[in-house]
Point group: C2
Chain length 181, copies 2
DNA sequence: CCCGGCTATTCCTAACTGGAACAGTATGCT
DNA sequence: AGCATACTGTTCCAGTTAGGAATAGCCGGG
């Protein structure tokens, strides 16, 4: 029955619910910006090309409606979620198969070969990861602050807190490993 | 100069250093088993077909040597890292940009839409994630125990500890979110 | 008016997944 | 010994996901 879409498809659909629910939908470009701002913290930031192919797919299932805007010389498309799309999202939320998170951690991968690097280089690597982590945390903090404690966005706020906790856990792991060298 | 390989290529190369360093190399099949046991905790567990294509690629760069075993009726190939391969791995460790970790978190993604699910269903989802987390943690604990506190595997042990810390952080986040519902 | 940066989309290629198909090997049972 | 079964090992194919570059209109300031 329900066509099996990829998780990223549903992620985009959920962006259309959260960010594009009120007005007349978002362009692929805008969707990319929303994804870069929030989705990337707990999923991926899909490539532009990927977003457009997913939108085509969603469109073919009538889960999104594509409104062409031909006012200028260029026709741009605004995508909005349809009732069928909301239904599909609902039934996906209810399915009990919850996949386990996947962590692709290049730093841990390199740390595995620490003996080929030497303690100094390992320390330098951890330092630069810590810096990147601080920067990334600040970006997420900004998102978190924008959410505030409004009831309407209580769940997104919880997800943001989750991300912050992850960053903090990473930071303290870095400290512990550095001390162990 | 250095042909740019994917991170997964280097990950497989590092498995050949760690697991296949002493004897005469590993088969693609064995490599898959090693990957399933350790690599998946901080990177991915590549599909068999992917492993073989990467081995072909590594072979074409002479970073691995393919020894054909024709003793039985079937010829199997054992792959061992070459000095050139070690060099490539070294220079990857030293030179390349350290990408930021990517976390693909289906549970967080669904939690985002918690208001479409209702508190009970959210709780159920968190419960089942917690269970999966406990199981996964146990598997990693087993790996960690096998490593012990031998100096030779001090770095892999640190990576395993990192993974355990991540699981613990996830568990406590689940608790906190459940309390907030 | 033209230059640079933003908006918007498309195309091409590479990375990666999953499944099926095929075949040899080791084991344990009757 | 014969046989079933599970494990080992490899290849092929079809599809999905991802990244980069190319293209082009839009929009403000000097």
């Amino acid at each position: 029955m329900a066509p099996s879409l990829s998780t990223t498809s549903y992620a985009l659909l959920s962006l259309l619910v959260i960010d594009g629910g009120t007005d007349e939908g978002l362009t692929g470009y805008e969707l990319k910006q929303r994804a870069d701002r929030t989705l990337r913290f707990y999923w991926v930031s899909p490539a532009m090309s990927h977003i457009y192919t997913e939108l085509d797919r969603l469109s073919s299932h009538a889960f999104v409606r594509a409104d062409e805007d031909t006012t200028g010389k260029r026709t741009t498309k605004h995508f909005a979620i349809t009732p069928a799309g909301r239904e599909a999202l609902q039934s996906w939320l209810h399915t009990s198969e919850h996949e386990f998170p996947v962590l692709k951690h290049p730093i841990a991968l390199r740390l595995m070969l620490g003996s080929m690097m030497g303690a100094d280089e390992v320390r330098a690597m951890l330092d630069s990861y810590e810096e990147a982590l601080v920067a990334r945390r600040r970006e997420l903090e900004a998102v978190r602050e924008m959410l505030g404690d409004r009831d309407a966005v209580a769940y997104p706020a919880r997800v943001a807190d989750w991300g912050l906790a992850f960053f903090d856990s990473e930071a303290s792991t870095i400290d512990r490993i550095r001390d162990s060298l």
